[in-house]
Amino acid sequence: MVYMAVFAAIALLEVLSAAMVLIFRNMLHVVLAISALFMLNSAVFMMLGQPLLALLQLFIMIGGVSTYLFVGVASEGYSKFRGTNYKLFAVSYLVIFVLFSLKLGQIGLLTSQQNVVSGQLIAQSIGSNIGMLYLTVIMLFGVGLGSIIVMGKIGDKK
């Protein structure tokens, strides 16, 4: 039952963010929507028992979306993004980051088990540490987006 509820929430948000890709007119908002789509899709991959594909979805697709971000923003011009509420975006990003940190900070980064032959400690599968990797991806994407916004502000001043 919990599985169904989580799946329903993720699927609803995923279809909503896919629709937002077509509804938004600001290219920055479009890229944010498709980034949310990729993250939710990686969560769907996790629900289907494929943590490696979820990681690939996160890292490769967010790399591709960053390329879209640079191309889109560069082609449209920074002056078209004056309507973006950066303060609201920053506050919501911080709230999401703190919520993720509070939940995921209790998880150990590497839980090890002992090899019965050599006695050496070996790491378990990446599935147990997927939370920290999600947190890392969110941090990296936020830092990249923030640097682009700062670049736009500097470019506007010139």
């Binding site: 169904m4 995923e14 769907v44 289907l48 690939l56 889109g72 560069a74 082609s75």
Partner: protein, 99 residues
Amino acid sequence: MIFNLFILLGMALFAVGISGILASRNFIIMMLSIEIMIISSTVVALSVFYFVSSGNIVILLLVIWSAASAEAMALVAFYRYMTKGQASLDVTKLSKLRN
């Protein structure tokens, strides 16, 4: 059944991608719609592999191919922007490339 819900999610995403292709004239939005369609096909294939049979190497290829297509199409748009000096991404103006 949960399998039907996964298929329904894939179909909904595919419909959004199709409507994006048909309704939009912006090149980047069209490419993002193709990405959404690839994602939907990945979800459908992965759910079939999870619920019906086993295997995931094809899905791995799909994910890598979609990422490669995203960056290649972005490169094409950026190349066109740099060579022609046009800020517009309207695909109905692509005929100017013949000049």
